[in-house]
């Protein structure tokens, strides 16, 4: 534990120095502001409070941004140490490889917490100032917050795994972009295409919900939208999967960080300094 915390403290300091904290916070804040400004039309017709609507749009934003920021922070995690030549010395210290990874994970999750917290806080303040009923949406915002961090943790760990597999930062960056495109963009497009082609058959009813749950980003979206009153505001794929109970999605977003961490540890163990 002591060694994990030491690693986390040092990694957090490095993130501060590298301006990662600034970049991540600024990015989330800017997007949250833009989103609040764009969504400031009257919502009376929907019947939902302002904050719940904001949470629905933040969910769609977070699905893209949180994995991206997480991968950007983590792709260098192992490959950077290999390239700088700091890994051999580190591995002769009485610290295990899982401890090193968990330390890095804690630091990067802390950075994500700052960024996501700042972004969501801005959006919440904007919602509360225009709609007195907005406090009703606070539980949804809280749920969005912690599930965003779990989603971030998944992609941080996947980033470490890719970093350990490629051993070179350039290669790891390429793999990270590929993973983001594949899991966040192409996966959903592929599913949509399949659903359309299937025309309401076995694929749509039986396999499709499981495929959604199998992807942490889709599970995250399902979990937040299913629980939200403002599902009507959500577009696209989530509408097709209303049948999936929220607790299935919850299990998926709780399991994924553990699986991803295990994958990262396995990949890191294969790295010979």
């Amino acid at each position: 534990m002591r060694r994990i915390l030491a690693t986390a403290a040092t990694e957090f300091r490095i993130s501060l120095r590298n301006r990662w904290v600034t970049v991540a916070v600024a990015m989330m804040a800017v997007f949250a502001l833009v989103l609040s400004a764009a969504g400031s039309a009257p919502t009376g017709a929907l019947g939902a409070d302002r904050l719940s609507v904001t949470v629905a749009s933040l969910t769609s934003l977070a699905v893209y941004l949180v994995p991206l920021v997480a991968l950007l922070m983590s792709f260098d995690g192992v490959a950077g140490e290999v390239e700088r030549g700091t890994l051999p010395l580190l591995l002769t210290y009485p610290v295990t490889r899982p401890e090193i990874l968990i330390g890095k994970l804690l630091a990067h999750v802390a950075v994500l917490t700052l960024a996501v917290g700042a972004g969501y806080a801005i959006a919440a303040v904007a919602a509360v100032t225009v709609d007195a009923r907005a406090a009703q949406g606070l539980p949804a915002l809280w749920r969005l917050m912690w599930s965003s961090l779990l989603l971030g943790a998944v992609f941080l760990c996947l980033g470490y795994a890719l970093s350990a597999l490629s051993r070179r930062p350039a290669g790891a960056a390429g793999l990270a972009i590929g993973l983001w495109l594949g899991m966040i963009v192409l996966y959903d497009l592929g599913l949509l295409a399949a659903v359309v082609a299937d025309g309401g058959g076995w694929f749509t009813t039986d396999l499709f919900p499981w495929l959604l749950l199998a992807n942490p980003a889709d599970a995250f979206r399902l979990f937040n939208l299913a629980a939200s009153e403002a599902t009507a505001a959500a577009a696209g794929i989530a509408g097709a999967a209303n049948a999936i109970p929220a607790h299935h999605a919850l299990i998926s977003i709780l399991l994924w960080p553990l699986l991803a961490l295990a994958a990262a540890v396995v990949a890191f163990r294969k790295v010979t300094p």
């Binding site: 051999p88 210290y93 010979t272």
Partner: protein
């Protein structure tokens, strides 16, 4: 006394390329052992195996009574890698504190350790701004953490200025006096000659010889060089009296085998008035080193 480090018949091959063959070596507590050898001889490879960073093909390695890389071995072993590197965004002090925490040592000693290697003034600057020698000193400072029982130092003095080198060997003397075992590699023969107890010469992955310098000198049995300076005006007489030598500007130069040294000296002193001075030049460490290093390997 039990040994801190025992290698026996250690063999390591990199994808079919042999790097170490049948290496046996042990280091006792308080002993300073220097590992010498040409580029690519296998020095760094041996050290990485000792630290458990890479595996080996056959033979056994015992580090502080445990397997290389085991928790116990790591607790008691300090390492200085060949090209030591740190994160450039951290200051020397932050980096040292991190290492102290990993070893469970009091963080407050970071400044003392940096001061011991002469980095007190630069401690609060980022390592990215350090010179090569300064980075090397951070590497030394971290190797001093927590009274290690075995220090494995890969070219510890590379990049250090002459004064820092001397200070470094003084630090080592102190550690060895407290019972630490030290295994270091170096290409600087003259410094290890005076500052270590035993030399191990590795050539092409094989230990070609090991022992104290005097033992190696005896084993190599290289000729001794004598330089005889004549008295004023006795130059030609001296040259005639010592035909096996070669006259140069200042006197006669001659070689003789170790065993003949005393007899030759006696003969020269017997020349009486002709001689004003004699210098006896033992074979240099470089000569002994190349004698062993060339025998196999290159």
């Amino acid at each position: 006394m039990t040994q801190s480090l025992i290698l026996s018949t250690l063999t390591k091959t990199y994808q079919g390329v042999p790097a170490l063959r049948d290496v046996s070596l042990s280091v006792a507590p308080g002993e300073r052992v220097a590992l010498l050898g040409h580029n690519g001889a296998g020095k760094s490879t041996m050290m990485k195996i000792i630290l458990g960073l890479i595996g080996h093909d056959s033979g056994t390695v015992e580090v502080l009574g445990g397997a290389p890389g085991s928790a116990g071995a790591r607790e008691g072993t300090a390492y200085l890698p060949e090209n030591v590197a740190f994160h450039p965004a951290l200051t020397g002090l932050e980096q040292m504190r991190h290492y102290l925490r990993l070893r469970g040592e009091p963080v407050g000693t970071a400044m003392d350790l940096l001061a011991r290697v002469g980095l007190a003034d630069a401690a609060r600057r980022r390592i990215g701004t350090y010179s090569k020698g300064m980075r090397q000193r951070v590497g030394l400072a971290q190797a001093l953490i927590g009274r290690p029982r075995l220090l494995v130092l890969d070219e510890p003095t590379s990049g250090l200025d002459p004064v820092s080198r001397r200070d470094f060997y003084e630090l080592l003397d102190g550690l060895a006096a407290e019972g630490a075992s030290i295994l270091l590699s170096s290409h600087a023969l003259t410094e290890v000659e005076a500052r270590t107890d035993r030399l191990v010469i590795l050539s092409g992955g094989v230990v070609v010889t090991q022992g104290a310098l005097t033992d190696l000198r005896r084993q190599a049995d290289l000729p001794v060089m004598l330089h005889v300076t004549p008295r004023d005006g006795a130059r030609d007489d001296l040259a005639a009296a010592l035909p096996q030598g070669r006259m140069n500007g200042t006197g006669v130069h001659l070689h003789c085998a170790q065993d003949d040294k005393l007899a030759t000296l006696r003969r020269i002193t017997g020349l009486g008035d002709m001689v004003s001075d004699i210098d006896v030049i033992p074979p240099s460490l470089e000569a002994i080193y190349s004698h062993f290093s060339r025998r196999d390997g290159q």
